[in-house]
Every structure is written in C-alpha cells, then in structure tokens.
C-alpha cells in the first residue's frame, strides 16, 4: 500500500493505535471473566495472525500449515515447564529457535528444489499433519493424552509466566501490540520493501539485487518463530496441550481467518479480522451446543470467508480506511460548498 509521507497523518495513526490499546486494556481490567477469556484468544490469534500475515501479505509465501509452528512453540514451553520445571520464558525462546529452524529448513528444502506457490502451501499442510501424527504417537510428549499444566493458583509469577485469566489477557495484549508495531516497523524498513518486491515479482526483484532465496527463508523463519511464541502462550492459557488441537488444521484456519477477513498485508487487519471472526466462531459454537447442532461455527466461518473474498477482497480494514477517507472528502467538499455559497 502506498505510504503517504505526511508527518501529521503519521502521528495521528500512532495516536489512534495507542488509543485502541488503551481501550483494550480497559476491557481487560473491567470486563467479566467470559469476555476476558474470549478476548485473550482474540488477541493471541491476532498476534499469530500477524505472523502469518508477515509471511503472505508482505513476503508473498502462502502457508496453510502454521499449526506446525504453533504446536512446536506450545510443546517447547509445555515440555520444559511440565517435565523439567523450567520457566516458560526459556520455553518460549526454545520454541522460537525450534520453530524458526524448522521453518528455515522447510523453506530451504522447498526453494532449493523450486517448490513454490500452491505446491509450497501443500507442503506446509503435509508437514503440519505429519508432525501432528508423529506427536500423537510420541510418549515423551504425552502422545494422545497430551500434557497438562498444573492448575494456576491465581497468583501472578512473572518469572514463571503464571497467573490468572486477567494476567494472560495482558500478556496477549502485549503480544498483539508487539505484533502490530513489529509489522509496521518491518513494513517501513528495507526488509518491507525488499520482501514486497519479492512477493510481487520474484524474478524482477532478483534483477534488482534482491537475494530472494535468503529473504524467503528469513521471512518464513521469523513468521514461524513468532507463531511459536503465540503457541507457547496459548498452551499456558489453555492449560493443556493436545496434538490434535494444537497442531491440527483448525489452528491453521483460525490463524489465517483474521488477516484474510481483516486485511492482508496491513498492520491492523489481523486485529480487526480476529475481532470479527473469533467471537462469531465462539458464539456459533455455543449456539450449536445449546441447540444440539454442532457445525454451526464451521458454517459461520465458511460464510464469513466467502463473503469477505467476494465483497471485500482486500479485507474489512482497508474498506474501513477507504470509507473513512471518502467521508472526509465529502465533508470537506461540503464545507467548501458552504463557504462558496456564503461568498
């Protein structure tokens, strides 16, 4: 998206962003526990959606197997904490390293052998499913029975990243903020330009000196490492890790729905998209449960995805921005007309 270099508009955007986060912080402090839990998930998926967004919206690489990285992060935190009592901070770091490396290896293998586009997307799915099945059979990580975190005491322990629901809400909020700020900063750095060029036309980018092979590996590793952090926190929030849920296709879909619905390639898109889609999913799920009809949430997700791609292919957030700009223009024109009439 063309960046207009206008200092005033810039500051306004940062202020608007900060405002959004203040509001979200208030929500966290004041709402009831149901909303807090729901919003924690929304914010976590915003963060993970940002990592996916980085890879596709900016880097141009489609992955439908992000659950792989989420799961690796979750298991790193889980295994280190539950089995060895090691702080999740270390676990998160370990998760980032593991996921980042796995992502780098997958990327290296693929691009070395010219596996691109759809084929690469299929590769990511295959890798995620393969890992899920392997983890389901691996006794050390609890196989199908999974791993369980000890019940939270409600006391906040920063060194061990433990606390109650509200504590995790603010952790998730911090992550979402980091995700948005990080995406913006990367977008404006040389990486942002080089990655978008690579996304739009790989061969032309190479002719301009962009080492696309390296950059593809880089963007995928960074995306994987961030997703792993999200996975680690998700595991802590959920209190348990099961291979079928944390590494299943469901997670991959949950991750991509935010950016796709909200706005691919934009900083606020994943937040807007997750805010729209995830509560809807939960609502439909709850409705389905109460009515005894499972599957309503799938239908809702399907309709949302199709509607967005049909009516607002750029996503909700860019449409909002366009709408806002149009309103401003018409107000301005209206004011101008008024002045002319008075003269």
């Amino acid at each position: 998206m063309p960046e207009k270099f206008n200092k005033a508009a810039e500051t306004k955007r940062w202020i608007a962003g900060a405002l959004v986060f203040v509001i979200l912080a208030l929500v966290g402090a004041l709402s009831n526990s149901y909303i807090v839990s729901l919003m924690t998930i929304v914010l976590l998926f915003t963060f993970m959606g940002q990592s996916w967004n980085l890879m596709l919206g900016i880097g141009g690489q489609l992955s439908i197997g992000h659950a792989l990285f989420v799961g690796l992060g979750a298991y790193s935190v889980g295994v280190l904490y539950i089995k060895y009592g090691i702080s999740p901070w270390i676990g998160l770091l370990a998760g980032m390293l593991v996921a980042g490396s796995v992502g780098a290896v997958l990327a290296w293998l693929s691009f070395r052998f010219e596996v691109h586009g759809i084929y690469f997307a299929l590769l990511t799915i295959a890798a995620a499913e393969f890992a899920r099945i392997m983890f389901s059979g691996w006794e050390f990580v609890g196989a199908m029975q999974g791993l369980f975190f000890p019940a939270p005491t409600g006391e906040v322990d920063m060194s061990m990243l433990r606390g109650g629901a509200r504590f995790y809400y603010f952790v998730a909020l911090a992550l979402a903020a980091i995700g948005i700020a990080g995406t913006e900063l990367i977008s404006r750095s040389y990486l942002g330009y080089v990655w978008r060029a690579m996304r739009d036309d790989d061969e032309a980018a190479r002719a301009l000196g962009v080492r696309t092979f390296r950059h593809k590996i880089l963007v995928i590793s960074i995306s994987a490492a961030s997703a792993a952090v999200g996975g680690g926190i998700l595991a802590l929030v959920q209190g348990a890790i099961f291979p079928d849920s944390i590494m299943g296709m469901g997670i991959s879909v949950d991750i991509l729905i935010g950016p796709v619905v909200g706005g691919l390639g934009t900083a606020f898109g994943p937040l807007v998209g997750s805010l729209a889609a995830i509560p809807l999913n939960h609502l439909m799920g709850a409705l389905g449960d109460s009515l005894g009809i499972p599957g309503l949430n799938n239908i809702a997700y399907g309709i949302v995805l199709l509607s967005v791609v049909w009516f607002l292919p750029d996503g909700i957030w860019p449409a909002v921005v366009r709408g806002y700009a149009a309103i401003k223009r018409s107000l301005f024109a209206g004011a101008l007309k008024l002045r002319k009439a008075e003269e």
């Binding site: 759809i118 084929y119 295959a126 389901s136 879909v253 991509l256 599957g295 995805l305």
Partner: protein, 289 residues
C-alpha cells in the same frame, strides 16, 4: 507369509483404484481450470453420506447409490462452479485457496448439522462378505468398489479421448485462449469439468461407504489423500491420477503391515513432502503450475 503379503497388496490395489477415481476428479479440475479444489474431500464425504442414506433409507444396492451420487454431485459441482468458483478462477493462488477453505468449512458444517458428528456405518449386504480367488481372500465390497471405479475411469478416459465435448475439455486444458478463439464455450466447459470432478469424488465416496463409516471429519483426510495421489501421479495428468492412486493404495497397505496403524496415516504426508521436494511434477505432471 506370502499369502498375507499378496492379500495386502491386492487389497491395496483395489482401494488404489478408488483413490485413483478420487484423484481423477481433482486432476481433471486442475488440468482444465487450473483450480485446486481444496474442498474435494468434502465432496467425497458427500458421496459417502449419499451411500449411507440410500442404503439405510431405501435399502438399494451400493451401485445404485453410486449412480445417485454421480448425478447429484455432478449437478452440485456444475452449479457450484457457475455460481461461485468461476469468479475466482483468475485470481491469485492464495485467494483460490481461501475460497476453497471457506467452501470446505461450509460443507463440513452442513454435514455436521445434517448428520451430526457421530460416525454412521453403512452396513450393506456386501459389507462382510468375502470372495476367494486362489490364495487371495478379498472383501466383496472392496472388489465391487474397485470394479466400478476402474470401469468409470476407463469410461471417462474414453469420453475425454473420443467424444467431441471431451476433446473440448482437453483443448481448454491445453490452451484456454486458443480455445476461446476457436469458439469453445469455455464457461460451459468449466462448469461441466467441475461437475465431472465432483461426480468422481461423490461416486468414489458412495462406493467406499461400506468400508468407511460416514462422518464429517473424514473430509480433510480425503482431501489430503487426493492431493498426495494427484501430486505423486502428476497434477493434471489422467494416467498419473490412476498410477498415483495405485501407488498410494499399495503404499498405505504395505505401511499398515510393516509399521503401526498410526504410521499408516502419516505415510501419505511423508510421501507428499518427499515428492514435493524431489519431484514435484510427480510421474507425469506438467512443469509449471
């Protein structure tokens, strides 16, 4: 020992023919329209449910259920293409993928709502009967499925090769613009193609309904299985789909024998990863996507 291996191989070949039919549907859609039908597994499962419904409700034989599935799914695919898919045929790949993910979610949601999550077994008259040929003991249901699938594959092959519409399909696959210029009705070709693809999936589903309990969660496995099969054989290649199906069927059967059952489900994915990396074209596929 030998008879065990032979039986396993035979069983793999039989199911491989059905996989080939599923893959054929996917590869025809891709070959002609350059569209990746990520909701293919859901279409197979629709077929499985049609099989279940027909047998349970009306007590018809599986073959009739398969015919019904073919008709229903063809119409379904035809209109799905006309109403929804056609708008996304020329968009970038990731839009296509997302549209189909949306469709697959919608379909599995509908299945869940209509039939619930519990598996529904289609116990047909064939379900438990076996037939002995020499040292081989084969499931009658499997044999029938393979037979019908094989027959359909041959018929479809003949249709594509010799009928005039079949030739239009192949022409459109080869060169869309050229096809338009010589007057092919491309929109109709695409809709029919999608219908054929969906029908293949549906028939395959109905044929295997005695072997698999109908449940919505099967869909993803079928989708990925179809993809593995198609990629092994070569995206867009008719012969490849058949060969891929047989390969996967046999590989799965052998894996179940040699490794634990959970490895059996992991095998297609491992194969997919290896094939994608070392020979993404598969046996006969096109160079570019």
């Amino acid at each position: 020992m030998l008879s065990l291996w032979l039986n396993v191989l035979a069983s793999g070949i039989l199911i491989g023919l059905v996989y080939g039919l599923v893959a054929l549907g996917l590869t025809i859609i891709f070959g002609v329209m350059r569209v990746v039908n990520f909701a293919h597994g859901e279409m197979v499962v629709f077929g499985v449910y049609i099989g279940y419904w027909s047998v349970r409700m009306w007590g018809v034989p599986i073959i009739a259920a398969a015919a019904l599935a073919a008709a229903v799914m063809f119409v379904f695919g035809y209109f799905l293409e006309k109403l929804i898919v056609k708008r996304f045929v020329n968009r970038p790949h990731h839009y296509q993928f997302i549209v189909f993910i949306g469709l697959s979610l919608l379909f599995s949601g509908i299945l869940l709502v209509a039939f619930g999550p519990d598996p529904r077994p289609t116990a047909s008259q064939l379900s438990f009967r076996t037939v002995s040929i020499g040292i081989l003991t084969l499931d009658l249901a499997r044999l029938q499925a393979a037979g019908v699938a094989g027959l359909l594959i041959a018929m479809l092959g003949a249709y594509l090769k010799y009928s005039s519409f079949g030739r239009s399909l192949r022409a459109a696959a080869n060169n869309r613009l050229g096809g338009l210029i010589v007057g092919l009705n491309i929109p109709r070709v695409y809709a029919v193609t999608f219908g054929i693809g969906a029908a293949c999936a549906g028939v395959a589903g109905a044929l295997i309904s005695p072997l698999f309990d109908a449940q919505p969660y099967l869909a993803m496995d079928f989708t990925l299985l179809a993809f593995v099969t198609v990629i092994v054989g070569g995206l867009g290649s008719f012969g490849g789909a058949l060969l891929g199906g047989l390969t996967i069927g046999v590989a799965e059967a052998v894996a179940a024998l040699m490794f634990s059952p959970s490895m059996k489900t992991a095998l297609p994915y491992a194969l997919l990863i290896i094939i994608l990396i070392f020979r993404p074209r598969g046996f006969f596929g096109a160079r570019e996507i």
